[in-house]
């Protein structure tokens, strides 16, 4: 414990946290579950979704724990009848303002909808008449960006996407627009994202708690409309674009990569963030122009498909013949900074051990 640690009590349990922590931080340290919608460690707390309300002894009102500073000697309750009643009331309001499926649950657009979880866990108060708020999305004919779709009916207007776009990506492409119950997420003049400062990083999708911001490719596979055609799974790997080394989760359906997401914030060096290339540029994997069989150039000067045996033999003969005619240093081996470490190791081993030349390099210039 350092000098400036703070000691407080949550649900009757003592905890110590560094100065500057919030009540939510302290509760997390005790593994006490507090629901949140508008909260993300990468942005400043806004305290606007009110899901994380707690009761602080000596305070008349309930306070959002994500924004309430922890203080020495504080006594906090995270679960009691009063908080429960408040939360149920809130969830009733959210539900009345949300698009529901045929079973009366919030729709899920192929992603986890945290609002649905909370409705299951905490229940609602009295059912309210659905709100008919005049929310607008950018018109589909104008919004020609290929990746990001916004559905205002699933939005709880927590503004987390807006704050992420401003505070983390720092491009401020989207904003809260309209007023009152018509408030929604939009762009300047409701222009297409392509005509804003948007860099298509997709962070708004990643932080959205309800799936109001979704990927266009996956929207075509809404689970309740179209169940996955094949078993789904998730594989952790490293991005193949620049040298940052972001960790990715490749979501597969059968033998197809159908979505790319980042591991949770705080777990890998990209801290939950991805750029447009990492998140969206995976179409090439299953592109129909991929090479699928070895090709050799024939007498006619064209490339023709062949078997691996023939192609490998042709490579071996071609290299050995040039070596015989011109010496081994007439061979050049170009390895690749796009391939794995093992592959680079084997390429230089091929060049050095099998042929005896150090003419082996790759495009790395830094």
């Amino acid at each position: 414990m350092s000098d400036n640690d703070i000691k407080l009590e949550i649900d009757g349990r003592e905890v110590e946290v560094p100065a500057g922590s919030t009540v939510l931080d302290a509760a997390r340290k005790l593994d006490i579950e507090i629901p949140t919608l508008c909260m993300d460690d990468r942005v400043d707390p806004a305290g606007c979704c009110r899901m994380c309300l707690v009761e602080v002894e000596g305070q008349r009102r309930l306070h959002p724990s994500c924004a309430y500073p922890a203080a020495e000697g504080q006594k906090v309750a995270t679960h009691n009848d009063r908080i429960d009643r408040h939360r149920k009331g809130l969830l009733s309001l959210y539900k009345a303002d949300h698009e529901l499926d045929q079973h009366g649950r919030p729709v899920s657009r192929g992603v986890h909808n945290r609002l649905a979880d909370y409705l299951d866990t905490y229940g609602t108060g009295p059912a309210l008449t659905p709100v008919d708020a005049p929310r607008v999305a950018r018109s589909e004919s104008l919004e020609t960006n290929p990746y990001i779709q916004f559905d205002p009916e699933s939005c709880v207007v927590c503004g987390l996407c807006v704050r992420y776009c401003d505070e983390v990506e720092a491009v401020s492409a989207i904003s809260l627009v309209g007023r009152g119950s018509g408030t929604t997420i939009g762009t300047a003049d409701q222009r297409s994202l392509l005509d804003t400062s948007c860099e298509l990083c997709g962070g708004c999708i990643a932080v959205c708690p309800t799936g109001a911001m979704t990927e266009k490719p996956s929207v075509t596979r809404l689970p309740q409309l179209q169940p996955p055609k094949a078993p789904t799974s998730k594989v952790r790997t490293t991005c193949n674009f620049c040298g940052v080394g972001c960790q990715l989760d490749l979501h597969t359906e059968g033998d197809q990569v159908v979505r790319v997401t980042s591991p949770k914030p705080g777990t890998t060096l990209n801290d939950g963030n991805l750029c447009v290339k990492g998140r969206f540029s995976y179409e090439f994997i299953h592109h129909d122009e991929r090479l699928t069989q070895p090709l050799v150039r024939g007498e006619d000067g064209q490339l023709h498909p062949t078997t691996w045996e023939v192609a490998i033999q042709r490579v071996a003969d071609g290299l050995r013949q040039v070596e015989a005619r011109h010496g081994t240093d007439a061979l050049g081996f170009v390895s690749s900074s796009r391939c794995t470490g093992e592959e680079n190791y084997l390429m230089q081993k091929l060049s050095r051990a099998a042929f005896g030349t150090n003419n082996c390099h790759q495009c790395a210039a830094t």
Binding site: A170, K277, F284, T292, Q293, P294, Q348, Q362, T366
Partner: protein
Amino acid sequence: MFGAGAMTNSIPEIRDTELMFVIGSNTTEAHPIIAMEMKRAARRGAKLIVADPRKIWLSEIADIHMQLKPGTDVALLNAMAHVIITEGLADEAFIAAHTAGFEAVREATRETTPEWAEAITTVPAQLIREAARAYATTKHAGIYYTLGITEHTHGTDNVYSLANLVLMTGHLGVRSAGMNPLRGQNNVQGANDAGASPVFYPGYQRVSDPAARAKFEAAWGAKLSPDEGMNLNVMMKAMAKGDIKAMYVMGEDIMLTEPNAARIEDGLNNIEFLVVQDIFLNETTRFADVVLPAACFAEKDGVFTNSDRRVQRVRKAVNPPGEAKADWEILCEVARAVGYPMPEYKDAGEVYAEMAALCDKFAGISHERIDQEGGLQWPCPDPEHPGTVYLHGDGPLNGTAEFQATRYRPSEELPDTDYPLLLSTGRTLYHYNAATQTRRSSGAKARQPENFIEMHRKDARMRGLRDGELVRVISRRGAIQARVNVSPRMRRGCVWMPLHFAEANTNYLTNDAGDPTTGTAEFKVCAVRVESLESVAAE
């Protein structure tokens, strides 16, 4: 210098830094996620100094933007060194304890005043002074650079000049400081680590070192050459000259990504045998005798090593299309077909284990460990070692670090009356290098469908060019078409083009003059002229 080319510090440290000196790096476009950390640090109050010929995104939030003329980095950096030394801001204790050769730098920078540099770089002397003072007097101050520093005929001097600043201020072996080259490709670091280099075996062991050679000869059961090989730039020229007669190219479109494409074309026509191993047909496969279909990153296992020396896993998620195979499997088959007894590796993990056993730096790293613990940063000499977050925590690696005095010399090819504009090239956010992958994605197509040339509005107006107009860009080596993009980011007299477009390959223009030490070509400076295509049509 002070050891291998790699970031001395780590990416997650950036958020805690007090000052960032970003030079020759358009970080928001080339390394967006590192840029996010920089934005976060700047938002927290860290000072940001940017040196770049263009008004790049970061320059807009920078405290100081030194908009230097392309290719004048050494003048700028030596002027900063001059300020630091003459104003007594150098860390004398660090210099005495950990370095050698400082006197030569003191001598070389005696005359390089900010006023002298202003005449060369056009950066106001006062700005250079402010930048130098801020950098020298901040403890957690890191330098971040990319190819804007290295892709010059004086790239090595640029790097030395930066390293001199780091050493004279003692910004080494400190958290959130150091000297940080941001690596361009996913696995540049890993490819170098693995010995895909004409002068190094795996783990930066020199081919000219008899002890290292003996070790690898024993491990691989083969006689190895003591002669250093050709670097890529030299190989490309050697094809045209007839010294290289066969090439085996894996995972690079050399036609599109190497400079002076016309000469490469001559070379590829000239050689007797060419193998290309890739995932798509590309510009280079037009010349290939054999094309081998490879698996992409989602279809194979292995490791990539990122900019901060972090070895991380690549894992197979789906099967390769058709008969395509992982590059490592293909390489083993080729080796066996030429009669070399490549071991029957069960998986990529066994290949890594073989390499790690031969390199002290990676000896403690294995696939199993990464699977359990996540990425590991080398040096990691044994299986108990936790990896190294930042280098030189206890003084420079090789005892003392050498200063290297540098002197400014102009780039190879500067604008003149026939070719009055200075062209720099680079990468954009939406595309990636040869763009074989990104040009097949809808977002990149929507954002940047074709090649463009950024220019200052006055340069455009002088030539009667409108924004969006199709023009011909001509250098001494070739000509291509592109659309004019009148941009407030540009300096007058300078133009900028991306390298991503095969049908209008910018590398027909670029100069293949290389740095004398590294062979890295001068992608960042060459002379061009621009002609309107529409007025030609009208004549």
